[in-house]
Amino acid sequence: MKKLVCSTIVALGALATALPAMAQELTFWSWRQEDKAQYEKFIDVFEAKNPGITVKFETFEATNYNTILSTALAGGSGPDLMFTRTYGGMETVASGGYLLALDKTNVPALSTFTAPALASETMRSNKTTYAVPFASQTMLVIYNKDIFDKNGLSEPQSWDDFIKASEKLKAAGVMPFANGTATAWQNEVVVGGLVSSIMGRSFYDDLMAGKADFTDKRYVGALTKLKEITKYFPDGFIGLDYASAQQLFSSGMAGMFVGGSYELANFKKQNPNMKMGIFAAPGLKAEDEKLVALYFDGGYAANAKTKNKEAAVKFLNFLASQEFGQMFANDLNNISAVPGVTFKEPLLGEVADLNKHSIPYLMLVHFRYGEPSGSVLLQSEIQKLLGGKATPEEVGKNLTTGLAAWYAPFKK
């Protein structure tokens, strides 16, 4: 009886375990469960051209993807090909030496990619690129065209315009913004999407050159304006979570949503009839350059220890090709990192245009290489700012002193 029970349990366990992948095919790991069908289509295109190679696409949960991947790679059971995160998230995986180094010799098309795109998949210590970047994301303002038209509003050119438009919506009984900040990472989003133009390109350049830190008055001034405009966020927005905020916008209850370009596909799915527009939040004056915040959010890498290196590199070259970039943009409605891709969907084309005037999405791109990460600090400091527990000056000071723990230019 006991034996039977035990063997039943073992059998159940064995059934539950996924069957190991067959040796002649390449496994390809991803965190994009929702894109599985499209990727399988891309893979079909590749397989038709490369008989003898098959690619198996497997997906895992996004939040724990890095943990799963590192575990598998460290245990020698990793995939041949995989999605990688960017910046600090890529380095934690690459620093173990698990990823195949990429350069002009094995993936020639890489030399055509933009420098910021390549930087997202390049380890800072040895300047080696480990992955083919796949997409960029842009922090901007999305608005409901019908609501804007009905209230006679157009895309704001100056900060005053922006406030006036918000005021008008509020007076008309429409929530100007749908955003809430109870979900920590949304605090970083509103900074990138609302006040990049106010902090400005010169602040970014000085910050990178080590000539400025976050106590700089351009940055503090930007935070002051951020605090000011949250007056037009929903009542109790500090207790409003991300999902609810999306819901307010997609159900047409709010005029604007500050968020990433990834929201566009989301909102389209939730409410196919809604007409959306996008703009870069303005600077203080109409003539100030309007900036969006840009980052790259993933790449494709190969396992350094793959048994089918030739086939894996062949597939990476396919992923870096114009042909793939175009399919990626068409089918996944994302801004492909491959240069020269055109966009069928007009809104995506607009995003690509806005990207011509951008600064990096600061904390994610430059400050996730140590603990405390700039993102963690910023999210918590902005929650303090918006909850009335800190002034913009204090936020700037806390960011700088917090990052000084590991960011050399801030060490005094």
């Binding site: 890095n66 245990g75 600090g88 173990g96 929903p234 009542d235 109790g236 500090i238 609810s244």
Partner: protein, 306 residues
């Protein structure tokens, strides 16, 4: 049966105890000992690096920002423990005392007070998160409906109310447990003792302090210890209701969330650190074992005195 009876008896006893012992050794004792060992190593992701002595402990206790995070989370756990002591165990004792009277309907009240206890913490967390939603939650809708719109708050978004909201959700979930443990203790008090007391005094208060409380003290010891261990392990309710970061700005951060973030990383951090995570686990563990030991010892001693 082959062999001498003595040998076969020994074999039989071994066959009975070795499998369960091996199981506990492999999946309880070994991991806990390893947790201690891991804290003394540097970790590269999931690969163990060199021996670093107390460096990980030093890191989480004395270097910034870890030191502040550790203290912040720890103090919240302490706060949660004392708040639940009153809201959950205190109320539990009162309810048990009321149920003990066996008034009409007591059976129904007993079933309903214990009902939330059987629900998953995840369900309880989601339920209260929806109730406390700033715009559409039933709590704020009710206040507005009663014309008390001023009382409507972003409960989970402001530091003055967020932790309390989690504590109340937890108390709602678990109050039935101490209630029924205390009730079982009260029901075991012999009738003669109660009759004797009734002859002497009218006062409920005297009855509670002199008779009921001392006699349910053994149950109280267990309930207090469990609450202590639970409070310092607190994870699911805050995870579901405010997220891994202990929003807003760490106002609801507790050791469980902090340990998880440190060990496994979160979307906005710089990655996972098994070394610092293990050090935290060991510290929490030693703290729990020490205090739980003291509670049990002290309360036991008092039980005997009484």
């Amino acid at each position: 049966m082959p062999g001498s009876p003595l040998v076969s008896r020994r074999l039989w006893i071994s066959a009975l105890i070795v499998p369960p012992l091996a199981f506990v050794a492999l999946f309880v004792v070994y991991p806990i000992i390893s947790a201690f060992a891991y804290a003394f190593f540097h970790w590269n992701g999931l690969a163990r690096g060199e021996f670093v002595g107390f460096a990980n402990f030093y890191k989480v206790l004395f270097t910034q920002p870890y030191a502040d995070w550790t203290v912040n989370a720890f103090l919240h756990n302490v706060w949660v423990f004392f708040a639940l002591m009153v809201l959950q165990n205190g109320l539990g004792f009162l309810l048990a005392y009321c149920l003990w009277r066996e008034l009409p309907g007591a059976a129904f009240h007993r079933i309903s007070v214990f009902l939330p206890v059987v629900l998953s913490t995840i369900i309880v967390g989601f339920l209260w998160k929806l109730f406390l939603h700033p715009l559409f939650g039933v709590v704020n809708i009710s206040f507005r409906g009663l014309g008390l719109g001023g009382l409507a708050q972003p409960w989970l978004g402001q530091d003055s109310t967020a932790l309390w909201s989690l504590i109340i959700a937890n108390a709602w979930h678990m109050v039935g447990f101490p209630t029924l443990v205390f009730l079982a203790g009260m029901q075991r008090i012999p009738g003669e003792i109660l009759d004797a007391v009734r002859m002497e005094t009218e006062s409920e208060w005297t009855k509670i302090t002199k008779i009921v409380w001392p006699l349910v003290a053994p149950s109280a010891t267990v309930v207090f210890t469990l609450l202590f261990v639970g409070s310092f392990n607190w994870f699911e309710i805050p995870y579901v209701m405010v997220g891994l970061e202990g929003s807003p700005h760490g106002a609801t951060d507790v050791l469980g969330l902090y340990f998880y973030r440190t060990a496994f990383g979160n979307m906005s951090g710089s990655g996972q650190d098994f070394g610092a995570g293990s050090a935290l686990a060991v510290l929490i563990f030693v703290f729990i074992a020490l205090v739980a030991g003291i509670i049990t010892f002290k309360l036991r001693a008092r039980e005997i005195q009484i």
